[in-house]
């Protein structure tokens, strides 16, 4: 950064070191991760039976055919694996146990560290959870070819960052509250519901969809999944794919600024500025 970098070029950059350390750390839990190989197909089978049965009576539900509905559940589950995040929980744990100070005494910014922890963790999850589940979907006969591969990659990458920012921001609450499990779990649950992880958002009542449109959550699962399927619609609003991905990018910037603002207030509280 300031001329020092070239002299010390044999030192691996922090992000590489964090990714590799986290990857190794999580290797110990790969058998736990692998349980998804069992649970996700079962969960998907239940969904399959539900919608199979429902579509016996109607041909489309809220504009989705049976195939599209199943594709939605398949892709949203993959988005769920990709975006799964423990940054918030870990931050809260650090603050509540006081271990956060071991980061304060090191020359590194925690959000940077935490983000690459997620990267390391998800690289492992990719092999252990996602690849086998993708394999299951293919065996099941789901057509997994994305409609617009380029935009799909962009949209999934943005959602990866956004879900991290949401989780990390929620974790910041621990600067103010002693016990935060309840708040965290509430927000996590609402994030999951409102992001469309359990059910496509266009199935919710129309009035509710209008609210969902203006919340950041749809950009975590619903948007990337719809980009994958190739058409976007919510609350009667249809949009070309590039446009919704653009909105998604704006949302990341907003969320980042919100996070930095709350963070700076939290750090002030932690370091006791003005008290």
């Amino acid at each position: 950064m300031d001329g020092i970098v070239s002299r010390r070029s044999d030192t691996p950059p922090i992000f590489k070191a964090v990714i590799s350390a986290t990857y190794k750390e999580n290797l110990a839990y790969r058998s736990q991760m692998a349980i998804s190989i069992f649970t996700q197909p079962i969960y998907f089978l239940v969904q399959y039976f539900i919608w199979q049965s429902v579509f016996k009576i109607s041909d489309t539900v809220s504009g989705f055919t049976l195939d599209q509905m199943l594709l939605y559940f398949a892709i949203s589950s993959l988005s769920g694996f990709l975006n799964w995040d423990s940054a918030g929980t870990e931050l809260q744990d650090l603050i509540q146990t006081g271990k956060f100070i071991t980061f304060q005494i090191r020359p590194v910014s925690h959000i940077y560290y935490s983000f690459f922890q997620k990267v390391g963790n998800r690289i492992l999850a990719f092999w252990v959870e996602m690849v086998p589940v993708i394999f299951f979907y293919i065996l099941f006969g789901i057509d997994l070819i994305p409609a617009k591969p380029f935009w799909t990659v962009i949209s999934f990458s943005i959602s990866f960052v956004l879900s991290f920012l949401v989780s990390y921001t929620v974790g910041t609450i621990a600067f103010w509250l002693v016990k935060t499990d309840g708040v965290r779990r509430s927000i996590l649950l609402f994030t999951q519901i409102f992001s469309g992880l359990f059910l496509p958002l266009n199935l919710f009542p129309k009035g509710f969809q209008k609210i969902l449109f203006y919340l950041p959550f749809q950009f975590i699962t619903y948007v990337p999944t719809r980009v994958y399927i190739g058409s976007y619609e919510l609350a009667g609003i249809t949009m070309p794919i590039p446009q919704i991905v653009f909105l998604q990018a704006i949302m990341v910037v907003i969320m980042f600024l919100v996070n930095r603002f709350i963070w700076s207030m939290g750090i002030k509280r932690f370091t006791g500025v003005g008290s």
Partner: protein, 276 residues
Amino acid sequence: MMQVISQNTREKMKGLRYSGFGVYIQGIKSSLASRMAYRGDFIMSMFIMMIVELGGPVITLIIYNNGASFPGWGVYEVLLLQGIFLLSRGISFPFFMGIVWNTISRVQEGTFDLLLIKPRSILLMSIASAFDSEDLGKLIGGILVFGIAMKNLPAQPLHNWITFFIFFIFSILLMFAFGLFMAGLGIVWIGNYRIYDIFMTVMEFGMYPKSIFTKSFQTITTYIIPISLLASYPASALLGKPNTNVLLALASAIVFFLAGLWFYFRMVANYTSSGG
């Protein structure tokens, strides 16, 4: 201390306070007391538990709202079924399902031994020290869904209620068996909280009418792991819908329960003989 207790006091200690049930009640009391230290968090957690449980019914409502349906089932009939499912979970999770996380975390931390040195059954100790007050939210959710469904359905004759009640006892028994299997697994599979996930996803099959599954799946969910008994059978009984092969289903539930007991104590024996 124990030696000096006279025969007389020993007799007195046979009272309710010292029975297995008394130990269990004490466990509930102390769990509630410690949870009350953070009331706000407690209430919020309970609320979350309730909301999580409403996921299934909400999907049902949305399906029916979109003009679709499960063949042969009205919306409130499905809600009744799911209400029963949630009631069964709402009773088992706070009152005895805590045995699972309690066992997993204690084996992991090494405090399982503290339960083993108590002069009581390890099963009783594991359950009594694991009352999960937050999960009362699940019970509230169950009562809510069940109540709403009942209000919108015609009143059922008494004999339907009686058969429903019998089936419901089996539903709880089955939950208990699930708990035993998970706790047993928790002893050997150290620190793996995802054991829950395995069973929770399997239970998903129980939240919908048995008839939506293919024949082969129905066989599995009725006779091998009798998940249909969790809600599908009791709901059909209460609604006066025909249930097939009732006795066989009940018998397999009992077998499943006994297998759970056997498995659990087998794993405990494993643990004690290997010294943890």
